[in-house]
């Protein structure tokens, strides 16, 4: 099928037009990133004048210097790492044993428990009751609150449960006959066998933790505890409304635009670093969790 020479002229034209259109879409997806990267490395004056189109104009790293010299940037970067690592570990500690138990046919009330998980995906009490609950639990302005409050997610449990269910029951039985208890069965047999699924769930958690801003914004007031995304919002969304402020920031070396762009680049980098792993696992994960009772 892949041999172009076998194609009719119409087919060749079709293939080429298709490739061009797809190429255009791909470029339009990529372009904003290139634009932002170029902006971050241009001088403030050129950026302000709207002269940056594709490549940096008047190359300078002043904007980065500006960003990296801001203590709040480092504080929030550190916090994001704490929330991400703590959050992923917490999530896995809940989700792996929970999903395993839900996948076992010998569990009494298995349908009920599974429904209790699935129901949370269909019906959500909403922002206000969740917020009030967090407040009542004393989890406002707390690292622990952010880490525990979003540890479990129905979709991830069901994804992992489906994966465990697909592993033949005889592995559990063989291990039990070999003398393993349930914890050992999970730890020594099912977890090693489920590395791709666990990696998928872990990556989903990492991304949602790294990117999460809404609840951090609502639940955290203390600037020492806010994650990067909240800081980012403060700088690039809130301050952008403030034309006066933006103007005061303008120097020949950097401007509000270049500084915003530089922060964006800094916060995208970790995601880009794990992106190859993400790509390897997410399609599998999506299909695993997507369509199955």
């Amino acid at each position: 099928m892949a041999n172009m020479n076998l194609y009719s002229r119409g087919d060749k034209l079709f293939v080429i037009v298709n490739m061009v259109l797809l190429g255009l879409f791909t470029i339009s997806t990529l372009y904003p990133f290139i634009y932002i990267a170029s902006l971050s490395m241009s001088t403030g004056f050129e950026a302000r004048a709207g002269n940056v189109i594709l490549t940096p104009v008047g190359f300078t790293l002043e904007a980065y210097k500006q960003v990296l010299s801001e203590p709040q940037f480092w504080i929030s970067y550190r916090n994001t790492f704490i929330y991400t690592i703590g959050g992923v570990l917490m999530s896995l500690a809940f989700i792996i044993p929970g999903a395993y138990a839900l996948s076992r046919p010998q569990l009494y009330g298995r349908r009920f428990w599974n429904l209790a998980v699935a129901f949370t995906m269909w019906f959500n009490a909403g922002l206000i009751p969740f917020f009030l609950n967090m407040r009542d639990l004393g989890l406002l302005d707390s690292y622990f609150g952010i880490i525990i409050g979003f540890a479990v997610n129905g979709f991830n449990i069901i994804l992992l449960r489906n994966f465990f269910e697909a592993i033949p029951q005889s592995f559990e039985e063989a291990a039990r006959m070999d003398g393993a208890n349930e914890f050992q069965v999970l730890w020594k047999v099912y977890m090693p066998l489920s590395k791709p699924a666990i990696a998928t769930v872990a990556l989903f958690c990492i991304v949602s933790r790294w990117n999460g801003f809404f609840w951090a914004m609502v639940l955290l007031q203390d600037e020492d505890k806010i994650p990067l995304q909240v800081y980012l919002r403060h700088v690039i969304v809130e301050l952008s409304d403030d034309e006066e402020f933006a103007t005061t920031l303008l120097t020949s070396a950097y401007s509000f635009e270049t500084v915003s762009a530089a922060i964006i680049v800094c916060s995208i980098i970790p995601i880009l670093l794990i992106y190859p792993f993400l790509q390897k696992y997410f399609s599998k994960g999506i299909l695993l969790g997507g369509v199955k009772e």
Partner: protein, 367 residues
């Protein structure tokens, strides 16, 4: 003695009962095969012995100890699974050692046991390999190695050969038999393949719809099936079944069907059953082919002859029903063409009650 005893074993899922009270005594060192069509409850029974299924009712004793409520790991039994259940992330040595590690045996014990078992099963060169890099037969051996390394009182086999191709299956069958001879461990083996049952078993248990149909040695079951189910299940090709009626003849009872008459054995129960509708069980191997010249032959219409080398299968029809004859080929190839019927010794015909399918009492073919 490390025998296994089942008394009135029942398995029910809610109101649905799938095993209806099994009684079975497995002697020490005995090799017992549970055989039957799929869904007959044989695997469920095995899994209850293993402790993988809870026993709904009845008593299970292993080595004289009541184990109904004992966890699988504490029953001192080992099981070989149909799909082997080899841990793909562990190499052969670690797979074999898994159970010993869980039981916290010393490193030296584990190393020497793995080495010994590897030697017994010819796995020594493969100990470092992962299951994915092994052939089907080697995987099967690892699965057995994992079972024998723990020196359990009882081996349980759940259709262990069904994932192998025909040639390998024959080979592994012989190996299992040899291993049993060498280790002498009580073994319970589940299969749906009657050939495996015949070749491996000291005693065969034929199961059907959650009940035991018959227990006995392979030849016993082959020669003297207690009912049409057992008769039809064991033997390949299966026993031919012919509807007939018993009438009185000069030399004792005679079976009559259509224009044909066959002399039956002079057994009291048959003599007393004149006028009764019966089913005649005729083994394809027990008949002698006959051409037009032979008197008192039962005539059949030959449909097709399959020549298999040393023997041939003659597919014929008798009163519109298929009838299969298995016969030697050597020296009688020219005869085969002219076949129009068969004869059979009276005592080799098995007579079953047409209504219940149960063998009329008193018939016995000596081994």
């Amino acid at each position: 003695m490390s025998g296994v005893s089942l008394k009135g074993i029942v398995k029910a899922y809610g109101a649905l009962q799938v095993v209806h009270g099994i009684d079975l005594e497995v002697q020490e060192k005995e090799f017992v095969v549970l055989v039957g069509p799929s869904g007959c409850g044989k695997s469920t029974t095995l899994r209850m012995i293993a402790g993988l299924e809870e026993i709904s009712d009845g008593d299970l004793t292993i080595d004289g100890r009541h184990v109904n409520r004992v966890a699988p790991k504490d029953r001192d039994v080992a099981m070989v699974f149909q799909n082997y259940a080899l841990y793909p992330h562990l190499n052969v040595a670690d797979n074999i050692a898994f159970g010993l590690r869980i039981r916290k045996e010393s490193k030296e014990t584990i190393a020497s046991s793995v080495e010994e078992v590897g030697g017994i099963l010819g796995l020594t060169p493969y100990l470092e390999r992962r299951p994915a890099d092994l052939s089907g037969g080697q995987r099967q051996r690892v699965a057995m190695g994992r079972a024998i390394v723990r020196r359990p009182k009882v081996f349980l086999f759940d259709e262990p050969l069904s994932n192998l191709d025909a040639k390998l299956r024959t080979q592994m069958r012989a190996e299992i038999k040899r291993l049993h001879k060498r280790l002498g461990v009580t073994s319970i083996y589940v299969t749906h393949d009657q050939v495996e049952a015949m070749t491996l078993a000291d005693r065969i248990v034929v199961m059907h719809d959650g009940r035991i149909e018959q227990i006995g040695s392979p030849m016993e079951l082959f020669l003297n099936p207690v009912n049409t189910f057992v008769a039809g299940f064991l033997g390949s090709p299966p026993m031919n079944m012919v509807n007939a009626r018993i009438v009185a003849g000069d030399l004792g009872p005679v079976a009559e069907f259509g224009d044909n008459k066959i002399q039956l054995d002079q057994v009291a129960s048959l003599q007393n059953s004149v006028g009764q509708d019966v089913v005649l069980g005729i083994r394809p191997e027990f008949v002698t082919v006959a051409d037009d010249t032979v008197p008192h032959r039962v005539s059949v219409e030959v449909d097709l002859i399959e020549t298999l080398g040393s023997e041939a299968l003659i597919h014929a029809s008798l009163q519109g029903d298929p009838f299969v004859i298995r016969t030697e080929t050597v020296g009688q190839m020219n005869v085969l063409d002219g076949i129009s019927g068969f004869t059979i010794a009276p005592h080799l015909i098995r007579v079953f009650d047409a209504k219940t399918g149960v063998s009329l009492p008193g018939q016995a073919v000596g081994q």
